[in-house]
């Protein structure tokens, strides 16, 4: 296992951030975990590091409901900057919402790999990371 995976968590829920980070730290393959409280903070970071491959995340766990800039608004901006991003980034939409409207909307965005309903269990994360490595996406 290569331990060079950058993970980005975008969520205003500090408890979620805490539990996610704690869980992910157990994976040896993960090099770094960065967290943002809203979409705008995350987007600012992306814009600052457009060509900085080392700093850009490999996987983003993006929450929907956030102040200032929510998940969907972040995706709108991301689609605009996507061609300039110097790295292949896998984005998971994460929400506690089981609302079909949200799920359908997320699935329509091609840059989003999947929609994950909170809470994310450890086994689920393991499967996601394992699968991505197998597919050679990482």
């Amino acid at each position: 296992m290569n331990n060079n995976i950058n993970i980005c968590i975008v969520d205003d829920d500090e408890i979620y951030q805490f539990t996610m980070a704690a869980t992910l730290k157990a994976f040896n393959s993960i090099k770094k975990i960065i967290a943002f409280k809203d979409g705008l903070e995350a987007m600012d970071f992306m814009l600052d590091n457009l060509s900085n491959e080392k700093e850009l995340p490999d996987i983003i766990f993006l929450d929907i409901n956030m102040p200032v800039m929510d998940g969907f608004q972040f995706m709108e901006e991301y689609v605009k900057i996507h061609p300039k991003v110097g790295k292949k980034i896998i984005i998971y939409m994460v929400s506690s919402s089981v609302d079909e409207v949200d799920i359908e909307r997320a699935k329509k965005i091609s840059q989003i790999s999947d929609y994950i309903i909170k809470p994310i269990r450890e086994t689920q994360l393991k499967n996601i990371l394992g699968q991505l490595e197998e597919d050679g996406k990482l």
Binding site: I15, Y16, T19, D38, Q73, S96, S97, P119, I120
Partner: protein, 754 residues
Amino acid sequence: MVEKHIENSSLLELLEYTNQLGKIGVFKFDALTEDIYWNDIMREIHEVDDNFTPTIQNIFCFTEAGATNDKLKRGHLDTLKHDTPLKIEHEITTARGNKRFVQCTTQPTFSNGKLTNILGTVFDITERKLSERELLQRNKQLNFAEEIAQIGYWEWDPINDKFIWSDNLYKIFGLEVGIEMSLELLVSRVHPDDKEHVQQVTMDLFETKKFKKFTYRIIPPKGAIKTLEVLGQVECDDSGNIVKLIGVTQDITHRIATEHELTQKNQNLLLAENIAKIGFWQWIPEKDEFIWSENLYRIFEYEIGTKMSMELFSARFHPEDLEKINQNVNKFMEKGVFEKYSYRILLPNGTIKVLEVLGQYITPNEKNKQQILSGVIQDITDRVDREQELRNKNKLLNMASQIAKMGYWTWKIEEDKHIWSDNLYTILELDPNTKLNSEIVLSLVHPDDKKTCEDAMKSGIATKKFPKFRHRRICKNGAIKTLELSAEVILNKNGDIVEFIGTTLDITDIIKNEIELLKANNNLKESKMKLTARNKQLAEFNHITSHNLRSPVSNLNALLGMFKDPTYEDLKEELFQKFEIVIDHLTLTLDTLVESLKVKHEANKSIQKLSFDETLNKTKEILAAEIIQTNAIIKCNFTDVPKIVYNKIYLESIFLNLIGNAIKYKSKDRVPEIEIESKETNGKVHLSFKDNGIGIDLKQHGDKLFGLNKVFHRHPDAKGIGLFLTKAQVEAMGGTISAQSEVNVGSTFTVTLN
């Protein structure tokens, strides 16, 4: 007698006797002496007495001057010239003035070429001549009769092909009288279609030697086709060969046409009888004799020609009508009065027919007291059926108009007469015998609608069109009915109005139903709106549970999972702190939800008249610290609407939240300024809160502005609860809340209170 004379007389006497018997007059003219001798018969014929001495001068006075005399004289001269005897018949007038026909024969005697004497006889042929005349006359008459009867006589000698035709036969054939006839000529006149028939008849005739009457058509040179009927007899010689045929030919063209016409007329009559279902009858009661027309048999369904009797006749009577028929027959027998009446007959197949009978005496013979009745019977089943149908339909129409609450009326303009159907009287609860004119009709109209009615009537007359209109009427029992009138105008030849015919529909119930329906519809609309609002609230609540409740619960789950996992043993203390945060958050969310539900249910509690000024002052007291801290300026204008009836807690909450927000999200660069205003537009009170704060990007957040836990700024106190509750309170009171905002300029929240 004759024999006796012969015995007793000499030859001369015999001659004289013969002369006398034959009435032969003898005369002798002596050319030398010019003496004329007449014997007694001569004198007798001319009725002259013995003293008469005939001379050359006086003998011609017996004959008529002119033609006869000239003829006589010429005859004599011819005789003298040619020495030939003269035989001439002529008329004489006797000395007594009687007219006679005589036959005169003269024989001159010459000696040495010189006339010596003339000997002559005169024979009285009056009787013969008269017979001849009569015959001629008869013949003429016969010809005339022939002509009238259109008959011609003929004889035919087939061996020599010789015909003898009477004049009229020529006329019938359109041929010149007297021309020589031949079979060829005859056949040439026969109609082409009948030639074969005539040939066949002729052939049959020669074979059977019997003449059969036959008819054929001819085409005369001029005029139309004629139909001829031929009758004849055959005469044969000893060897049985036909030598002669004689016969009569009659032109029956007219007869055939008449016959045809008659047949046609008879057929028409039968047809008419059949169509009208009428039968004729005669009855002699004493003899029980009936004469029935064919159609009567048909009506009674007896075979045509069956000998009728009272027994057969009455066998068809409908049992229920027997008494009625008997009564009528008796009445008639006793009183001799035949009144038209109808009865039913029952036919063997079960069909019932209704008949109408009419009769009268045709020969009331007092002497032998034999009564003959004659009359007609008409099958009126169809008529009765139709009448019944009409009655039924009328009944149905009446029923329909009663059900539809419809009445019919006619308004005769000139007489100003209103004729109403029974149901119209019923609808307006009037006595059906009430006579109506416009004044009475108008008097029944509701006072408020009187002008409408008068205008409609006037307009109807003026424009010749009747406008459909509604009006109310007051019934006798005081009830008010709404009526709808529509009508058509009937004009005369000159285009003047004769009358209006129309209908009046009682639409009282319809209108009542309409109103109720409208009400129900409005209720339905209101319910729908309420339901839509409730639905929206439910959807919102669903959203809240999906987001706002699920996330803390999932956090709890995640923390619990870590707490149980020995891997995170060293994080336990931190985990406990996190548990506390989540539980606090969950508690707040649940409290807010409970609060919002309470707001929805308690909207109508503690409603009272509130002053905006007082409410604002109370809010300022609560926010006193923040106002002092930020130097916030609060302006207000409640002059348009100073007071409102509202839920006190909610109004205070609205003021507190909106003013609080305006201060909380103030711009760093500006002193907060807040303007509050109350206004009334379209009957609704609007309350606006305008600030100069940081503003919100409504393009991005507009749909979430009033959502639970929605925050738009990284403000430490932003919890997304204030506006959520404000909206719940405003909506619970039947109002709305909206916002206008520009980032870094300010926001305006407008609350429509009711």
